[in-house]
């Protein structure tokens, strides 16, 4: 056996060891197995690749974008896709490719912030309601029901109308409307574990509710929640784009994809690229998140691998 394969084999043996020598090795081995399972799902890997590309695009936007996304150039307005303007130019002569590249930052910003706000709120409300039950459960879940009863986009519209249009307000509005399903999922999962023997055992060992919820219940809810959040990313992108399209999200001249499709609408018949290019970007990224979510479900959700 030659040396490189020796190293690879040894690393794999270390990862798959039945007798891990440290907590790190045990966790690494677990992660490796999950990764291997994930790798078998080609479409999920494709989804992940697209999202990694999106992150790279956002990180290196200044290097990748050939033009300034905001600078107008009226002599070059409404140019069809060509070698100098890969995806054409819009109604004020801005390069659409550059705008899409810079717009990836906004898209990531929106979904990142929504996930950071909505997922923890949802998991906290759900696990607390599920673990304690009784009065706390009733209060928290009726609150959740109230938020669930609002149509998502309409409530977002109301919030934006109250707080004023702008990307931050759009993010707050989307986050406020997207946590209730997470709370429901977390509560449902919590109720199935609440009286499990391993929870009773740790309770008998003197653990308080905070330790039980954060250390024992949340890790078990996390996997199905990650899957759900990933699958919801597509919806969040669409809602953000929808708000942008209605003029209530990112404000001009920000290169937000939804706002771009909105302005392109006026030219849809003669200059198709204005609306097609950002629309395609939204479509591809949403699809990528859905594929990734499906792949993650196979890895993380214990009920799907039977």
């Amino acid at each position: 056996m030659d040396r490189p394969t020796g190293i690879i084999t040894r690393t794999r043996d270390w990862l798959l060891s039945d007798t891990p020598a440290s907590a790190t090795q045990a966790a690494a081995g677990r992660a490796y197995l999950g990764l291997r399972l994930f790798g078998r799902n080609r479409l999920a890997v494709l989804g992940l690749a697209i999202i990694v590309a999106l992150v790279a695009l956002a990180l290196f936007a200044p290097q990748i974008a050939p033009y300034d996304p905001i600078a107008t150039d009226l002599t070059n307005r409404l140019q069809a896709p060509s070698t100098s303007h890969l995806l054409g130019t819009d109604e004020v002569g801005r390069d659409i490719f550059s705008r899409i590249v810079w717009g990836s930052r906004l898209t990531l910003y929106i979904i990142g912030l929504v996930a950071i706000i909505a997922a923890p709120v949802g998991i906290l409300v759900g696990t607390v309601a599920g673990y304690f039950g009784g009065f706390i459960d009733i209060v928290l879940m009726r609150l959740t029901d109230i938020f669930l009863a609002f149509p998502k986009l309409i409530l977002a519209l109301a919030f934006v109308a109250a707080l004023g249009p702008g990307i931050e307000n759009a993010i707050i509005a989307i986050a406020i409307t997207s946590w209730p399903p997470y709370a429901r999922i977390a509560r449902g999962e919590t109720i199935t574990f609440r009286n499990a023997d391993f929870i009773r055992a740790i309770r008998l060992q003197g653990a308080g509710p905070i330790r039980i919820i954060t250390g024992h219940i949340m890790p078990l809810c996390l996997s199905s929640l990650i899957v759900r959040v990933t699958l919801d990313m597509a919806g969040i992108i669409l809602t953000a784009a929808g708000l942008g399209f209605l003029g209530l999200g990112a404000q001009p001249p920000m290169p937000e994809w939804g706002a771009m499709t909105s302005t392109g609408r006026a030219y849809i018949l003669d200059h198709w690229w204005l609306i097609t290019m950002p629309g395609t970007a939204i479509f591809v990224v949403s699809l990528a998140f859905n594929l990734l979510g499906d792949g993650l479900r196979e890895v993380l959700d214990p009920r799907s691998d039977s």
């Binding site: 023997d197 391993f198 740790i202 060992q205 003197g206 250390g215 890790p219």
Partner: protein, 267 residues
């Protein structure tokens, strides 16, 4: 003889309301001496595990008196209670957290009770239950049923309790593993001078493990006898005789002769 480690008087509990009202325990009384081993036997639904849950504080709203080491238990259990009483659950597949390594499962009680020297204690208690250090960082799914139950026993022992509640500790295991685990429990009791309260439906297990046993049926103790009485067949209640017969294996004629001792007997 010293004061009893565990004393239970007139323990009762009611589940449900109205038509679904079920008196799961009625007037249950027994006591276990310091260092003793007491068995609760009965069929499924006879309330034997409920007794353990009442003692452990996993159920409340019971009536009667429970005393552990001369202290009356009431309301929420204090933190020090965990260092006095621990429990081993029936199903080793359900009693270990699926996402925690053995190490984490054993360390957590030490962290809760702020006991230092965690690493040494973990290795030591694992050795005591017959598991080498190579098991320390495994996840439960990398362990067999018997190994899992050993980890569950280690978890109960790591807080150095004086009373161990055993809820059918071997009924979910293969017959060959059952004997190993029972012998392990016996050895630990001798070494650590523990008091056991063992719940089982298996008279053979109880007579192997316990000095004294109580037979439960429909939430009531029908008979309390010593191991010697059981082995010599000195039993007074027909239900005990029926349990004894059932434990000897399947016999069509014997099963047909069985009777329900109370009107709402479960199968």
């Amino acid at each position: 003889m010293s004061a009893p480690m565990l004393m239970i008087e007139a323990l009762g509990i009611v589940f449900g309301h109205g038509a679904a009202r079920n008196r799961a325990l009625q007037e249950v009384s027994f006591s276990v001496p310091q260092g003793g081993s007491f068995g609760l036997v009965g069929e499924s639904g006879s309330g034997k595990s409920t007794v353990l849950n009442c003692i452990a504080g996993l159920l409340d709203r019971w009536t009667g008196t429970i005393k552990v080491a001369d202290q009356v238990l009431q309301g929420r259990r204090k933190l020090s209670f965990s260092r006095q009483v621990q429990m081993v659950f029936q199903d080793p597949y359900a009693s270990l957290h699926p996402r925690h390594t053995v190490d984490r499962t054993l360390r957590e009680p030490l962290a809760i009770h702020r006991l230092g020297d965690a690493s040494r204690r973990v290795v030591q208690v694992l050795r005591e239950v017959g598991l080498g250090p190579q098991f320390r960082f495994r996840y439960p799914h990398q362990l067999s049923g018997g190994q899992r139950q050993r980890v569950a026993i280690a978890r109960a022992l790591i807080l150095e309790p004086s009373l161990l509640l055993l809820d059918e500790p071997t009924s979910a295991l293969d017959v060959s593993i059952q004997a190993e685990v029972l012998n392990l429990l016996q050895d630990i009791r001798t070494q650590r001078h523990l008091t056991y309260l063992l719940v089982s439906h298996d008279l053979a297990v109880v007579s192997h493990m316990c000095d004294q046993l109580a037979v439960m049926c429909q939430g009531v103790i029908v008979e309390t006898i010593s191991r010697e009485q059981l082995q010599s067949g000195e039993i007074s209640h027909p239900y005990t005789g029926q349990l004894l017969l059932a434990g000897k294996g399947y016999d069509r004629a014997a099963i047909d002769a069985f009777q329900d001792f109370l009107p709402t007997s479960q199968q």
